[in-house]
Amino acid sequence: MNRKRIAITGRGIFCGAGKDIATFSHNLLEGRSAIGPMDLFDVSPFPVRIAAQVRDYDPLSHFDRKVAARLSRADQFGVIAAGEALQESGVTKYYSPYDIGVSLGAGAAGMFQAEQWLSETLLGKKARPTLLRGILPDRTSTAIAAQYGLGGYQGTITTACSSSSTAIGWGADLVASGRLKAIVCGGSDAISLLTYAGFNSLRVVDPEPCAPFSLSRKGLSLGEGAAFLVLEEEEEAKRRGAKIYGYILGYAATGEAYHMTAPEPSGAEAARVMNAALEYAGIGTHEVGWVNAHGTATPLNDVVETKAMKQVFGERVTDVPLVSTKALTGHCLGSAGAIEAVATVVALNAGIIPQTLNFRGADPECYLDYCHDGKRASSVPIALSNSFAFGGNITTLVVSR
C-alpha cells in the first residue's frame, strides 16, 4: 500500500524525567533516572516505596485555580505536554481547528482523585463530587481539545500499557487516510493508589530502581506523566515550512489472545506484532538500528521480549540493541508508549542509542546487547518502540528521524 509519510512536527513531554523536551532530552542523554522516594500518598504500608513521580508540581504554575480544580492530575499533565507539542509545531495557526484532532492513550486517568472521594466517603465524610470528574480516561482528550480550541476527531484508547503507542499509530493513520490534516497524539497517566497497590499486590515491583534485562531484577518501578507528538503529512508540513523531527513510518497493534497478565512465553506473538509493524511501514529488519523495549524489568517480560527479538532479527539480533528507558522514566502505564516514542525521537535526532540503566549483572536468559554499559552513537535512522499490556495487547511503532 502506498502510504503518505507522516511527519512529526511537534513534541511535548511532562514526566518525572523532565517537564519539557529540553530537560527530558538532557536527562535521557545523560542517563539521569527520575526514580526515587515516593510521597504522592502514603506508601509506607507497601514493601516498595519508590517511583518516578512528577515532583515539585504546582498546578497553579500552569492553570488558574478554577481550571486546575476541574482537571485531574492526569488531565493536567496531558494538557501541559500537548500544549508544548502544539506550540512547537505551530499547526493551530495553519489548519482549520476542525482538521486538527486529538488521539489519546490513557490509563488510570483521574483515579488518584477518585480514590480521595472513595476514601472520604468510606470514612463517612462529605467528599467533594468534583473529585470524580476525571475518573473517565476520555476526559483528558476533551480537556486538551477545549484548552487549545481543537474541533477535529477525538478518541481515547485504553489498552492499559500499550494505550498511547496505539494512540500514536492510530493518529498517524487518521492523517494518512486524509481524515485529518494534523493530530496531537500521545498519552497521559498519573500514579494512583490503585496502580501502586495493584502492582505491589502482584509482586512485580522492585524495591530498588528497576533494572531491565539484569540478573536478579525483581520488577518494575512505576512512573507518571504525559507525552505527545504532533503529526501531519510530510508534504503539507514542508509546504508550511515546519521543522520535521522524524516520522511515524507504521505500527501494528494486536492481541495475543493468551492470558490477561502473562505474556505468551515463546515470544512468537510479540515477534508477530513487530514483524507486522515493519511490514506496514515497508521497512526491512536490516534497516532497524535499535529497539526501545517495553522492558518493564519483570523477570518474565524481559525474557519474552528477548526471545521475540531473536525471532524478528535472527542472526543479526546481537547487532540491534534492545534498550529500556523505563529505568529512567519509570513505567508510566497509559502514557508509557508515548513517553518512549518521544524518547526514541529524541535519541534518533541526537544520533545515540540510550543506555539501559541500573545494570546488576548479566542474566543468561537476556543475552542481547542492552546498552547496559552506556549510551552509544548510532547513525541508523530507524528504531522500533514496543509496548506490551495487560490483556495481551501489544503495539509496535516504527519511528525514524
Binding site: 504500608p45 476514601s119 487516510s177 495493584g198 501494528a252 489472545a257 495487560f390 495481551g392
Partner: protein, 343 residues
Amino acid sequence: MKAVRTEIAITGIAAISSAGVGLDPLKETLRSGISALRPVPVDLAGEEGHVWGRAEGFKASDFMSPLKARKFDRCSLFAVVAAGMALKDAGLDPAAFGSSRVGIALGCGFGGIANSEDFLRGYLGKGTDGLVPMLFPNTVPNAPASNASIEHGLKGPNVTFVQRFCSAEAAFQMACRFLEEDRADIMLTGGVDELQPFMIEAFRKVGQLRRYAAGFSEGAGILVVEKGEVARKRGVRIRAMAGDIRSVGRLLPGREAEGIDRIFCPESKPQLVSLSGVAGEVKSILERLPNVPRLETGRLLGRSLAMGGLSLVSLLVSLSPGFSAVHYAASPEGPYYGIDFTA
C-alpha cells in the same frame, strides 16, 4: 471525513440488554415500544422517579461454569458471551478462518470501575491485608475485549476505546479502518458497559442522575464486520453494508454549524435515522434530520457510554432490505458521529 472505500459488510450481531439476552427480546422491545427500564431502588437513588436498565435476564451460568465466570468482571462476561453470540450469528469460527486475521475493537464505558472499587475498598478497609490481587488485572477497560479475544481466539488487532457516549462508534470507525488497511479480514466491534449500584450513588453525588446519567443501562451490542469480498467468499448472510463514517471532536463556539456540516452528508437520503448518546438532545442535529422514522434506543433500553453498540444492533434489526439509514451519535462536549448503512 472521507468515505470508507473498502466494502464493509456486517455479517453478525448480538445483544445483551435490559430487554433480555439475544436479538429476540431486543426486537420485541423495539416493536412494542415498551421501555425495558425499571425503577431504581429509592435507597440507591435517594428519591423516587429514576429508572435504570440492568441486564437482569443475563446469567453467566447459562453460558459457562461458575468457576470460569468467577475470573471475569461483569463487563467481561457481557463481552465474552456477546462476542460468542455474534460469531455464531456470522457463522464464523476464528480458529478455522485464521485467528490472526480476526480482531476486536470495542467501546467500553465503565469497564473495570467495579473491580477498581472492590480492590480499593479492600485496601482502604483492611490495608495491605485487604488487597485481592486477582481483582487487579480486570481493573483495566480493555479487560472485556481482551477476555473476549482470549476466549474466542481473536489474534488480530485488539483495541478498546472510551469516548463517553461515542465509545462504540469510535471503535466501529477503527474496526472499519483496519479492514480497509488490510490489518484484518474480520473485526468484532461495538460496545459493552456495566451498571453497578455504587455508580448510581456516584452519579447522584455529581448531579448527573437527572441529566446525562438518567436512564443509565448496561449490556453489550456487538457487530461482526468484514470485508465485503470475504463475506461473499464465505457465503454468509450480509445484514447490511457500512458506508461513510463522519466525525468531529467537538463543536467550536461560534462555529457549531461548520462542525455539524461535517457529520451530515448532503447526498444521504436515509429511510431511517438512529439517534444514540445525546444526539436526540442536540438541537442542531435534530433541525437537520430528514422527516423519516427515528430510532432512539435510549428511551427503550437505556443508554450508557458504550451503548452505541446496542443502538447500532437495534438499527440493523430494524432496517428493511434495500433501505438505508444514518446513525447519529453524540456526547456532551463531543464527539459527534454520522455513520451510513444500507441493508
